[in-house]
Amino acid sequence: MFNQRRLKYIFLTFFILLAFVLIDIFQLQTSEFESTSQIIDQQNLDKFYITAPRGEIFDVNGEKIAETKLEPHLFINMRKITNQNSSDYKQVIQYNFPELTTKKINEIFESEDILHFVINLSSVEYEVRNNLITNFDAFLIIDLPIRSYIKNELFSHTLGYLGIPNQDEFNKFQNAFGNNEVGKNGLERYYEEYLSGIPGELIFSGSEIVDAKQPIPGNDLFLSIDSSTQLVTKESLQQGIDLANKSFESQNVIKRGAAVVLDIESGNIVSMVSLPDFDPNKFVSGISDFEYKQLDRDQAFNNFAIQGLYPPGSVFKVVAYWLALSENIFPQGLDNKDSKVDCEGSLSFGFDDGSQQVYNDWKPEGHGKVDLTNAIKQSCNVYFWDIALNIWRNFGNTKGESLLQEYSKELGFSEKTNIDLPFEKVGIIPDRDLFEEWKISRPGLVREEGWLGGDLMNLIIGQGAITTTPLQVANAYRTLLTGENLSPTLNINAEKITNNTINVSDEFISFLLKDLNTVTNKGGTAYVSFSILGTKANDIGGKTGTAQNAGDKNNTSWFVGVDSISNPKYIIATVVDEGGSGSAVAAPVSRRIIQHLLGYELTPVEFGEITE
């Protein structure tokens, strides 16, 4: 039988306990309040942070390219060092670690830290370590993560590197303070919060550790990059740069270049190389000032694939190609893509605004009768100038005059591609408004009259004030072949941003592919560079570009390739800064990358035909 009376006793006991608890709390909060406040004020607990292991980074095949190893580090608890025992500790350190200089050891003992780092113990035998911490109270071994980049230079620009955080980074990344390291560039930067992990804590009250929190490792990152393709891309680009240096007299040593391989269907980046590069491991162990300055002077820290701003030259002609077919704007007097103009090597037109009057094609004798296909195939400027002329005649000085610029922006030019890397540059698509703005902000750069017809003539062949990044160009070609301007990404699990969509018909895409195909085949500007492939080149396409630069800089060498016309999988964009002709240098670089992508035998990068 249930006994209500006994339950009452239990509740009574509860009441008595409750009264007891409340009295204790009351005393604590009233009569002891003053004394405890004093204790709290004097308490000053100190926190020592333990760096969390960063997440590791893998390529598309699961191969590790950045790893974090935990290594034992010897620390000394400075609060346990007294005048009496400090010489003992100095001796122990000197005896066990002769590689430490006396100066360094003195530095340790002069420090005001709670815990001071002594030495990495990973190469020290277990017995020695054990002996140190069991016999010497002030020694402490803490496992700290060491970052290493397994492929050294190969991924320098994509992975980035680590460094000691500055004030901005303390504010921006919440774990930066405790970890005392932060991604300075590349994926390490972009995914800092994701990779960093949460630092552990040791709480000191006086010299004793009173509480400890384990660090929580960061998350692993999986990339769409393929290490083998990356390696071939890098080798090919380097060969292209060497070739350019050898092949013609250049005032400047050619060092810089970039190449990107983009997966057409997914928009994932398969490889991304920028030269010159550097070894991110050097930042882990500490890089010398001299070495840093040298790398910096060579602009090795720039990822030219997303930060190099180059006039695109003829690779930009696909924008006008798309515009012509979409708007049905062809050279004066033509109404379809198959009608031909007679290219006599120059075009003269009486601009009444003070623009240049005669435009000379890169081929003085002209290309003969050219239709749109031939204009791409032979990179005929006259045909495109005719289109520009037509735009200018119909829309010049009206709202519609920025037609070409609008088409460019649809393809992502002068906009961020939103790749998952920091510090991406956007480049310039010039128009009347920009020139007006520059008249005020950058006087001297543009002429008094502002935007003229001649500027449009320049723009349509990718010259003049226009600048683009290699990734933008690759992504623009991808957009034309898919109708969707997606953010290209390295992280395979990244959320894709659709920048915008464009209207391209299947018919247009097959026209474009067919015409790109003519470029690498007989009569095309890149034919010589691809001829080594024999009939295998029949399915490959691309577009060459040779962009003139101001001053004494050589031309920028461009090539954008498609690995297959029947089944396009990859876009390959290659730039050799000051590399000269696109068909001669950048095209054979892309050719070698395509050889790898299609599983063909690799042949060295050899000089192609000089065209524009």
């Binding site: 006994r6 239990i10 709390i25 909060q29 009233t30 405890t36 406040s37 709480i203």
Partner: protein, 360 residues
């Protein structure tokens, strides 16, 4: 009574008082946690966001429990008890986390949470004891079952929960009409074996250190929690710009949350919270008196004892009177398992109220 109309708020007649009090306790917990974080972000790592999500799920659990009639529950108890024993047995085959086998890690199936089965087996144990007591004839096998249950929690090892359940079991037997002499004898016997186990070093090192730390009289977290409570003064620091530096208390948002609460809301806050619990106890006690069904009497008093003992063990730990136990303060501490199990307790009580036609 069984054919109640089902509404969105559970079967007709959810007791508003119980529901309100459940939500009030949750909200108090949110306010307490709010003071310990810097910002509200909707991330799973943010403790306040977590707790709010747990609370909302808790309310669903509360209602789900209410759907189960006492009669059906009564018939389910034996199966539930067997299930609870097997789940606790299963823990023995898991990899230890932080040196103990106390949680199921649901990471492999894609959920970023740990489940602590002992939180739920507590309630099932109370149900089971209520059933065997209301049957008025003890079967040896039933008593053995209770002991196995305690033993399985003891070897996790989880000293705090074992102590809690030992006291709850003893008190539940105490309110039945068994002879005082045998009650005391049984109680002593079990306690004796408990300390014998201790003596034979059956426990992990860290638990020994918890106990020895306590006897050496300077457990850091308990010292700190007393300081934290003291800094709250009469009215707390929540509504005033605090002059006093914050006090570092390890695991303050979980087991030691009352020290944070008392700092924030002071002595009057402590009185308020504990008064709410007293009110709750009075309210439930009235039903214990009113209902004619033995099982319901045992069940309600068992659940009250479970809640009460948890609260006291928690308070006495925080004030440093007993060693660290790892017992959470119901509905105040951060943690999903604790909220869900307390939601079940409130849901069960609510169902008894409904079946006795007490709605407000």
């Amino acid at each position: 009574m069984i054919n109640r109309k089902i509404t969105i708020l559970g079967p007709e007649g959810t007791n508003l008082y119980i529901l309100l009090q459940f939500m009030l306790f949750n909200v108090i917990s949110w306010f307490t946690l709010f003071s310990s974080i810097e910002s509200i972000e909707f991330e799973t790592s943010n403790i306040l966001t977590r707790q709010i999500v747990f609370s909302l799920i808790g309310i669903i659990v509360f209602f789900l429990t209410t759907y189960l009639s006492i009669e059906n529950l009564y018939n389910l108890i034996n199966s539930l008890f067997l299930l609870s024993i097997s789940v606790l047995l299963g823990l023995l085959f898991t990899a230890p986390i932080l040196g103990v086998r106390r949680w199921y890690d649901l990471e492999p199936v894609g959920l970023p949470i740990f489940i602590q089965p002992s939180e739920f087996s507590k309630i099932i144990l109370v149900l089971f004891i209520a059933k065997i007591l209301s049957q008025n004839s003890f079967k040896l096998i039933a008593i053995l079952g209770v002991l196995v249950n305690l033993f399985l929690i003891f070897i996790q090892p989880d000293l705090g929960t074992t102590m809690l359940l030992l006291i709850v079991t003893s008190l539940m037997f105490f309110v039945s009409d068994i002879k005082l002499r045998s009650a005391v004898l049984g109680f002593l016997l079990i306690f004796l074996s408990f300390f014998l186990f201790l003596e034979f070093n059956f426990l992990g090192d860290y638990q020994i250190s918890r106990i020895t730390d306590f006897f050496s009289g300077d457990d850091f977290s308990q010292t700190q929690s007393r300081l934290s409570i003291s800094s709250g003064s009469l009215f707390g620091t929540y509504f005033t710009e605090s002059q006093i530096t914050e006090v570092f208390v390890p695991v303050q948002t979980t087991d030691f949350i009352f020290s944070l609460y008392a700092r924030n809301f002071g002595f009057f806050g402590a009185i308020l919270l504990l008064s709410l619990w007293i009110l709750f106890f009075f309210r439930v006690n009235r039903i214990i008196k009113r209902t004619q069904i033995e099982f319901e009497k045992y069940l309600l008093s068992g659940l009250l004892i479970l809640l009460g003992v948890q609260i006291f063990i928690n308070l006495l730990t925080i004030l440093g009177f007993i060693p660290l136990t790892g017992i959470a303060f119901p509905l105040l501490s951060l943690g999903g398992s604790s909220i869900f199990s307390t939601a079940i307790i409130f849901g069960l009580i609510n169902r008894v109220f409904i079946e006795n036609n007490i709605v407000v």
